[in-house]
């Protein structure tokens, strides 16, 4: 048996699993998005074809555009915050000469172990206007005179939701950056030190270029996940106040699962979102993910 055939057969089980778990739902959602699908149709298994109508209805819905705008703002804030913080924190815990960094490496993982919905509920309590811990701390510290309505004010609500989200997902980015940091050859730093490079120069000319690939991967993954943010929205604001925190995934959820349960339109909105994420991933790959040459 030739090596290529052997490789093919070895990959077949994985391919089948991915096909069933990923490709089938994706394909089925595409099918639903061009059909009229409500509860009754799902029950009967008969879906009248309606072409691009669902897509048209999504695109002409002003709420979809509000949700998309909020999603873009949310994604930009959370992903950029995660990248910056992940690099900073990974650099800190990468200092093996500091013994506490080993403890920190363990502790930093804790938020990632918290279920997203539980994280949302914890922060909902923290943000509570009159009884929340955050306002209590700020008031006690003399930083505020009156409580701040973090999640209930349309001017602050979306930003308020970004904090718990970043808090929960940051460890993932830190781990990846930290792993990449450990892969950078020490000789590079030693040679640059001999050449007289200071810490900033070493970071800018060695560390950052060597992290470029992992940063691209984090950008792609975190952007995709941030675009689909749902649990924190559900637990903290449920889209409110008004439409201040309606995001794309919340829109798809409401369209699909709240009466009149328009599964076709919900699938169409999810597909539009997926296509946008795909396009952004291509942009990242084109401009960020480059092979490192030293």
């Amino acid at each position: 048996m030739r090596a290529s055939h052997f490789a093919f057969f070895m990959n077949l089980p994985t391919l089948l699993c991915l096909g069933l778990v990923l490709a089938y739902p994706i394909g089925y959602a595409a099918y639903l998005s061009v059909h009229r699908v409500g509860l009754a149709q799902l029950r009967r298994g008969e879906f009248p074809f309606n072409g691009w109508e669902n897509y048209g209805r999504v695109l002409e819905d002003p709420l979809f555009w509000v949700a998309l705008k909020n999603t873009l703002v949310f994604t930009f804030i959370t992903v950029s915050s995660e990248i910056v913080l992940a690099v900073l924190i990974a650099l800190l815990i990468n200092q093996s000469s500091i013994w506490t960094s080993r403890v920190t490496r363990f502790l930093i993982l804790l938020p990632y172990a918290i279920p997203p919905i539980a994280n949302g509920l914890i922060w909902a309590f923290l943000y509570s206007f009159q009884f929340g811990f955050l306002n209590r701390i700020l008031f006690t510290a003399g930083l505020i005179d009156n409580p701040i309505n973090w999640a209930g004010n349309p001017d602050t609500a979306l930003y308020a939701v970004t904090v718990p989200y970043v808090w929960r997902t940051l460890p993932f980015a830190i781990i990846l950056v930290h792993a990449a940091l450990q892969g950078i050859p020490r000789e590079l730093y030693e040679q640059s030190a001999i050449d007289g490079a200071n810490a900033w120069h070493r970071f800018w000319h060695i560390t950052l270029p060597m992290l470029r690939q992992i940063i691209a991967i984090i950008l792609i993954l975190r952007t995709a996940f941030a675009f689909a943010v749902f649990e924190e929205i559900l637990a903290i604001t449920q889209g409110g106040p008004g439409d201040a925190t309606w995001v794309a995934a919340w829109y798809s959820y409401k369209i699909t699962f709240a009466p009149p349960n328009n599964f076709g339109m919900g699938s169409a909105s999810a597909y539009i979102l997926a296509l946008m994420i795909g396009a952004i991933a291509l942009v990242y790959m084109r401009f960020v993910y480059r092979r490192v040459t030293l």
Partner: protein, 452 residues
């Protein structure tokens, strides 16, 4: 004195008539309570190994009633229980996935949608259904009857009332709660000015089908307005009562008088009752009456016993609602499903309205049956938490929410309410004016109809 008596008699006339109807029913069908009637004690001929219901959570009532059913009939009952807000989603996905569902429940706002999509079956022809229908309260009839067919049995009923914190009122040296909306504002402004309460009013303005919308519906109705006329035309135009009420309401928030608790935009009925129990607000409402069983429960509220019920200004007009259980069209056996439905929304094998009575006693919920509303289950059961005659007086002045907002009968009401929640919250937080809000909602009616 005699005038008072006449007044009382007139106010309770509906209840008296209800009692008469209930007694008539008792004469026809055996008795409202405590007696076995034919079909109730007879097992269906078919065999099932299990049944199930899909409901939203409320204490342990479903565990108890399922256990009773199993004891009485030897058939295991599975339950799928989710939160109120998640229930339509859970039900929809189970139905869409082709799962068996014998009995489920609905708020009146989702119900026309469920019926429209074929989730519920009519019950008119089932044994004993006619007796139930005769005992329905007017609210129940309006919710359960769709296109001339009876589609469900009542879960519970509630009316919208106001609450006030008596000690705070006394501290302000105000001898009685407000009798007009101007007086309401006066009291709140005084409470804030005197430093007695930073936010004197806690509205129920959290996103929901009857929370934020219900507050607006109730005050509009109380002021003599409605949202749709009998022909289904909207009543939200310039100068309408609904629009003026919204202007007045929005003015109580931060951008206006700043007397409304910012938590108002998040709280639901139960969470609102818990927040009010902290003793930081003077008034709460208008909202479901049964919140008193939280505010006045010493285990849950530091101001227990100090929260009083209050009617609405003017003629005291208010609104009410009934939620329902229904026979799912995805049932595994219609006769057995009907039997189970009766355990949840009707009588048990012993002939009692077991569930309705325990809901009244344990949770201060009203019933969708005249005979239960007129029984000691309500009169004695509610007494630990509130002034029962006062609540029942308010009950008599309540109209079904569908009279105020007839779109509840339409499948497009649900998506329109989604928009209503968004637009009104934007108005209350000063992002748009009440005029813009109402104009958007008028435009949204056509959009919502297209979504169905």
């Amino acid at each position: 004195m005699s005038n008072d008596l006449i007044g009382k008699w007139e106010l309770s006339r509906r209840r008296v008539l209800g009692t008469a109807a209930g007694l008539g029913l008792a004469g026809l069908s055996g008795a409202a309570f405590g007696q076995q009637s034919g079909p109730l004690s007879v097992a269906p001929k078919s065999k099932v190994d299990r049944l199930n219901f899909v409901v939203w959570t409320y204490g342990d009532i479903y565990t108890r009633i399922a256990k009773q059913f199993e004891t009485d009939w030897g058939v295991k009952v599975d339950s799928t229980i989710s939160s109120f807000n998640d229930h339509p989603t859970k039900l929809a996905t189970m139905f869409a996935a082709g799962e068996k569902i014998d009995v489920s429940q609905s708020s009146p706002f989702s119900f026309p949608n469920f019926v429209n999509q074929g989730l519920a079956e009519p019950i008119d022809d089932l044994p004993g259904a006619a007796d139930y229908i005769k005992d329905f309260t007017p609210f129940t009839k309006q919710v359960a009857t769709i296109k001339g067919k009876t589609m469900g049995l009542p879960y519970f009923s509630a009316v919208w009332v106001w609450n006030y914190y008596a000690d705070m009122l006394e501290k302000l040296k105000i001898d009685k709660p407000f009798a007009s909306y101007d007086e309401f504002i006066e009291h709140c402004v005084k409470a804030k000015k005197d430093g007695v309460s930073r936010y004197p009013i806690l509205w129920i303005a959290g996103v929901g089908l009857e929370q934020l919308p219900g507050t607006w519906y109730q005050m509009t109705w109380n002021k003599g307005g409605a949202f749709f006329d009998k022909q289904g035309n909207h009543m939200l135009g310039a100068g309408s009562v609904a629009r003026e009420t919204l202007k007045w309401w929005a003015n109580t928030f931060e951008k206006g008088l700043d007397i409304a608790d910012p938590e108002s935009l998040k709280v639901q009925f139960t969470s609102g009752a818990k927040a009010f129990g902290a003793g930081k607000n003077l008034y709460r409402g208008p909202n479901h009456h049964y919140g008193l069983n939280i505010c006045n429960d010493p285990a849950q509220s530091p101001i227990a016993g100090k929260v009083k019920v209050h009617g609405s200004p003017g003629e005291g007009k208010t609104i009410g609602v009934t939620h329902v259980y229904f026979l799912s069209s995805a049932n595994r056996d219609k006769e057995w499903a009907w039997k189970l439905l009766q355990y949840l929304g009707g009588r048990t094998k012993d002939g009692n309205y077991t569930q309705a009575v325990s809901l009244a006693k344990d949770a201060m919920l009203g019933s969708g049956y005249l005979s239960v509303m007129n029984s000691d289950a309500v009169k004695l059961g509610w007494a630990p938490w509130g002034d029962v005659p006062a609540i029942l007086k308010i009950w008599d002045q309540a109209a079904y929410i569908g009279e105020v907002c007839s779109s509840v009968y339409q499948p497009w009401h649900f998506p329109w309410t989604d928009q209503l929640n968004i637009e009104v919250q934007k108005c209350l937080t000063g992002q748009i004016t009440a005029d813009q809000c109402c104009d958007n909602l008028i435009k949204g009616i056509a959009d919502a109809k297209r979504k169905v």
